[in-house]
């Protein structure tokens, strides 16, 4: 029996293969599956890559990193927990040569380096790499090939760093503990540990790293020991997570959120297509039942047919997504070197299966209705049961829940989902208002426009589903494009409003003095300077950071490193207060802080919560008493965390400064002199900043453009399927109108007017929705005041209007091929 049904389904599947509703369904499902499978494969590849990376490039069984040297007791404890320890020192320094400069990571190692793995160097840029034991001898420096190029060095040149001179002796090719340098692409150099002492860098800028070889059990003990004794230190080990893992997880979350949007649209399209399926299958099922079959037959046939329809897609999906996966991997290889493409049949199958399951949920109303079908239902068509609406609402709720759960930025997700809901309400409201008011006011007038309004009003329910579907797609598309455009504009604007073209990110007190001196001598304009000290959050309300905040977020990622803690008497001009009360001048109560609003939201912190910081190996606890946000117009140096100036008297820690300077063209060469004497000043020119921005923007543009293509594709499918859903009704309406003695031209005119009105409602709704969303998200997420450009809005309106109208009319051409004769023949 089952076999027989399968054959029958295959037969009907072939028969229906070229019908629009089946074709549309295949398109939605294939498009979405290819996207999801590609995404899953790509992220899996990256995760594998990171894991592999961790195993091979840690250069130790565990690595302990902190800002200070271990005390002799701590070192003894560490030794008791390990087999062997190698210590290295790192500092960010700017190397200068012949008037050129380049910031780089300078590492100091001893003869015992490396601990595990191979250090590869060569004697010239052309010669092959050789395995090397131990670092350079004192007075020598090894540089990576990019530094050679950037400073135009050759072997044997002498580099001056502060008061010391170094001979360029070898090309640095590979360090086995490279992973610890993480994802940063900074250029690298190595010197001997003995020289580090002579260089007399500010002690607190040096990072101390202990490479440890230890058994697994020892590593576990080590982790406990670190938690207990060195809470501000960081530990990485082979069975732990990659330093990039958190970053990647957040990227994945973002991609997940975007795919939710695509699922939203697919759900709309499938809902529309399901209406046609339902009508056809219900009719068919009722006929089967009138011939004595049970309604199980109808459901079975429908299910099989749907399965076959999706099954034929699978080979195409598998092949295409593998191809796309390969393309993505080659694109990523610029960022993740040595990443390789691999076929993963099992994961592909699993992902396809999950998507199929989701599609089944979207399609389930059809089967549910078929189960309830009886012969008598044939005679009472147009009966919509409540359970169907319930299924649809459930599907919507599932989507929303998944979306909320997926994202790390709860506020942003809520806003996105919220603005989708607002847009839905808005479009529904606008269509109701336009049609009702339009119909009321034009009642007095004769003509085709009032008639069209009247007809649309009468079909409000079916029409508004169509309008909602297309409107939501348009909104999502518009929002994506607007976001892309504004991101570019913002970056441009940021560069313009930036005060000063040279930013000092970190200068110690003595370095700041040198900068001030240098600025005065060279007649350079020092715009702003603000002090801060480094502090690392270790506990929130007496819980460790990871215990307190379970979800990864931007803020959590930042707080897991040392942050810059600024002190001030009054609220800075660059901030405005959003919550709580700012401290009074010279307050006695110095253990209070103000936190940036987004950090508060991301970590769900409230006023009164207590944060414990480790500052220069001492622990301090502060209470949150206020929350601030960025206020544009008064400069760009801002801090996430601020405390009263009075606190400085109680905290013993080195002070640093952020500053901005404005240099004119002939002053730039003078910078080399400052840098040679103070290699550890961290400065970045606006030009470099612009380059970084451009690189980021180019990447974002690629990603968003790809995403926009997906949305456009789905939006077209939504339009086509919504028209397909109403085609029978339209056809009949046109025939009936012609039977009143009207010509086909009248039907065309009516159709054009109807689509113009539809497009007008959609465009208004989508633009208003985008505007509202823009205001909401821009204000809170980017601290931007959203200023819509009315010319662009007008152009957008025109484009949407003409595109939707043309597409609508084009897709309705079938329903315009009607005639009175068809009405007669229709039995």
């Amino acid at each position: 029996m089952l076999n027989h049904h399968m054959q029958l389904s295959w037969h009907y599947f072939k028969q229906e293969y070229n019908q629009p509703h089946q074709r549309l369904l295949r398109w939605v499902q294939a498009t979405l599956m290819i996207f999801i499978v590609t995404l899953t494969l790509a992220s899996n590849t990256i995760q594998h890559y990171l894991q592999n990376n961790l195993q091979n490039l840690l250069g130790a069984d565990a690595v302990l990193t902190q800002k200070d040297k271990l005390t002799p007791q701590q070192l003894t404890s560490l030794k008791s927990l390990s087999k062997r320890i190698v210590n290295t020192l790192q500092i960010n320094a700017t190397l200068t040569f012949n008037g050129k400069w380049q910031s780089s990571k300078l590492k100091a190692v001893g003869d015992d380096y490396p601990l595990q793995g191979e250090l590869l160097t060569s004697t010239s840029l052309q010669s092959p790499a050789t395995v090397t034991r131990g670092g350079p001898v004192a007075g020598n420096i090894w540089l990576d090939s990019r530094l050679f190029a950037s400073l135009m060095l050759s072997m044997g040149d002498v580099i001056k760093l502060g008061e010391e001179s170094f001979i360029v002796a070898r090309v640095l090719i590979h360090e086995p503990d490279r992973l610890m340098e993480g994802h940063n692409v900074a250029m690298r150099a190595i010197v001997n540990k003995l020289d580090m002492g002579k260089l007399a860098f500010p002690a607190d800028l040096i990072q101390y790293r202990y490479l440890v070889s230890a058994a697994k059990s020892q590593v576990l003990q080590l982790i406990d020991w670190q938690k207990e004794q060195l809470p501000a230190a960081k530990i990485h080990h082979k069975s732990g997570s990659h330093p990039l893992a958190l970053f990647w997880q957040r990227t994945e979350n973002f991609l997940g959120l975007t795919s939710i949007i695509l699922f939203f649209m697919a759900a709309i399209a499938i809902e529309q297509i399901a209406q046609v399926h339902l009508k056809k299958e219900q009719y068919f099922s009722a006929i089967c039942m009138s011939l004595g079959a049970s309604n199980v037959t109808g459901v079975q046939l429908s299910l099989f047919k749907w399965l076959i329809n999706i099954m034929v897609l699978m080979p195409i999906v598998a092949i295409l997504s593998s191809v796309f996966h390969w393309l993505v991997v080659s694109w990523l290889s610029a960022t993740f070197s040595e990443i390789i493409w691999q076929l993963d049949v099992w994961l592909t199958a699993k992902t396809i299966a999950t998507s199929v399951l989701l599609f089944a949920v979207f399609h389930s109303p059809v089967w549910l209705t078929l189960c309830q079908t009886s012969v008598s239902k044939l005679f009472h068509q147009n009966q919509k049961s409540i359970s169907l609406a319930l299924v649809k609402i459930c599907a919507l709720v599932v989507l929303v829940l998944v979306a909320v759960n997926y994202s790390d930025n709860g506020l942003l997700t809520l806003m996105l989902v919220g603005s989708i809901l607002i847009t839905i309400t808005l479009i529904a409201g606008i269509s109701w208002a336009v049609l009702t008011l339009g119909e009321k006011t034009t009642q007095q007038f004769s003509g085709l426009v009032p008639f069209t309004l009247f007809m649309m009003k009468q079909r409000l329910l079916s029409k508004s589903t169509q309008i909602l579907g297309i409107g939501l797609s348009t909104f999502l598309l518009l929002f994506t494009l607007m976001f892309l455009k504004d991101l570019g504009d913002t970056m441009g604007a940021y560069q313009r409003t930036h005060d000063g073209n040279l930013m000092v990110a970190q200068a110690s007190q003595s370095e700041m003095k040198a900068i001030e001196q240098w600025a005065k001598e060279s007649d350079v304009d020092l715009r702003q300077a603000k002090p801060y000290l480094y502090a690392k959050v270790v506990k929130i309300n007496n819980q460790t950071l990871n215990e307190f905040a379970k979800k990864p977020s931007d803020s959590l990622a930042t707080l897991s490193h040392a942050i810059r803690l600024h002190w001030t008497q009054a609220l800075p001009k660059t901030n405005s207060l959003v919550q709580g009360k700012w401290w009074i001048k010279d307050t006695k109560n110095w253990q209070q802080i103000s936190l940036e609003e987004e950090v508060m939201t991301d970590l769900s912190l409230t006023l009164g919560d207590k944060l414990t910081f480790i500052i220069h190996q001492q622990s301090y606890t502060f209470t949150i008493t206020a929350s601030h946000v960025y206020k544009p117009g008064a400069g760009s140096i801002i801090f996430w965390v601020q405390m009263p100036e009075a606190a400085i008297a109680h905290i013993n820690a080195p002070h640093y400064n952020m500053a901005s300077l404005e240099l004119n063209d002939d002053q730039w060469p003078l910078l080399g002199q400052l840098w040679q004497q103070h290699p550890t000043i961290r400065m970045v020119s606006l030009q470099e900043l612009t380059k970084q921005f451009d690189a980021i923007l180019a990447m974002i543009t690629k990603v968003i453009s790809g995403f926009a293509v997906m949305i456009i594709l789905l939006a077209i499918i939504v339009i086509l399927s919504s028209i397909n859903a109403l085609e029978d009704k339209e056809k009949k309406k046109n025939s009936v109108i012609m039977s009143f003695g009207f010509l086909k031209a009248t039907c065309w005119q009516l159709n054009i007017i109807e689509w113009l009105i539809t497009a007008l409602i959609i465009a208004t709704g989508a633009i208003a929705g985008t505007y509202l969303t823009g205001m909401l998200i821009y204000q809170s997420q980017f601290s931007l005041s959203y200023q819509p450009d009315f010319l662009i809005l007008f152009i957008t309106l025109t484009i949407i209007l003409s595109t939707v109208t043309l597409l609508g009319i084009y897709a309705s051409r079938h329903s315009l091929k009607s005639s009175v004769k068809q009405l007669m023949a229709d039995t």
Partner: protein, 242 residues
């Protein structure tokens, strides 16, 4: 002022393109003459497949005959059947009301399209005429077949067409309802001075027409109607007055 539709030696045939090899032609009728006058009622009967519906389409000018021609004579002014379009209404076996409109709005539809400001008033008048004023606010799905067909009749007549074409208007109704509907249809057409052309298998319905034709084997023959004596006299009078 009387109008008429005239078919002069029309033939209708279809090429059967089902199979390329034996492309045969189906000829429904050849050299057929028929004249329809406004204000009169006509019935066309005949076996299934004889070409009754096809003939109706020719009369309505919705299709062009293979040979011969149809003419529309309006006040001694002769023109092609294309000019007939605005002057005719249809009634279908399947009613074909628009499901999302109420009975009242269905009836008002043709007038609204023409921009008639009195649309609703006239529709109410016609609904009352077919005896459905109490169901004005109901949707087609809430009406019985007979009631739906009454709405369809009101809709076809509301814009005062000169001719009404009805293909099996009672085909979906029981005898009792069919009888009632046909009475309404004939009376309304008479009152409106509209020509009524009915295609039917129902002999009772056909017998109510002033002129009864039978189409079979490509031949259109005029049958004698039960009240043909009166009608013939009436017809003679009319011919004389022309």
């Amino acid at each position: 002022m009387s109008c008429s539709i005239e078919l002069k030696s029309v033939s209708q045939s279809f090429r059967n393109n089902a199979s390329e090899k034996n492309a045969s032609t189906i000829t429904l009728f050849e050299n057929l003459d028929l004249s329809i006058k406004q204000g009169q009622s006509y019935a066309i009967t005949g076996p299934s497949g004889a070409g009754k519906s096809s003939l109706l389409m020719l009369l309505a000018g919705l299709e062009v005959p293979t040979s011969g021609q149809g003419r529309f004579i309006n006040d001694n002014h002769t023109s092609t059947l294309d000019n007939l379009r605005a002057e005719i209404g249809f009634i279908f076996q399947q009613f074909h009301l628009l499901p999302e409109l109420t009975a009242l709005h269905n009836v008002a539809l043709p007038l609204k399209l023409r921009g008639d400001k009195q649309a609703i008033k006239k529709a109410e008048y016609w609904l009352e005429k077919v005896g459905l004023s109490d169901r004005a606010k109901h949707k087609p799905s809430q009406l019985s077949g007979g009631e739906q067909q009454r709405v369809a009749i009101a809709r076809a007549l509301v814009f005062s067409p000169k001719f009404i074409f009805a293909d099996e208007p009672t085909g979906n109704l029981d005898q009792h309802n069919a009888n009632e509907i046909s009475d309404i249809l004939f009376a309304s057409c008479q009152e409106n001075n509209a020509g009524l052309i009915i295609v039917t298998h129902n002999s009772l319905l056909a017998s109510k027409a002033q002129h009864i034709y039978s189409l079979a084997n490509g031949e259109l023959t005029k049958a004698l109607s039960t009240n043909s004596v009166n009608d013939q006299q009436a017809e003679l009078k009319q011919v004389a007055s022309c």
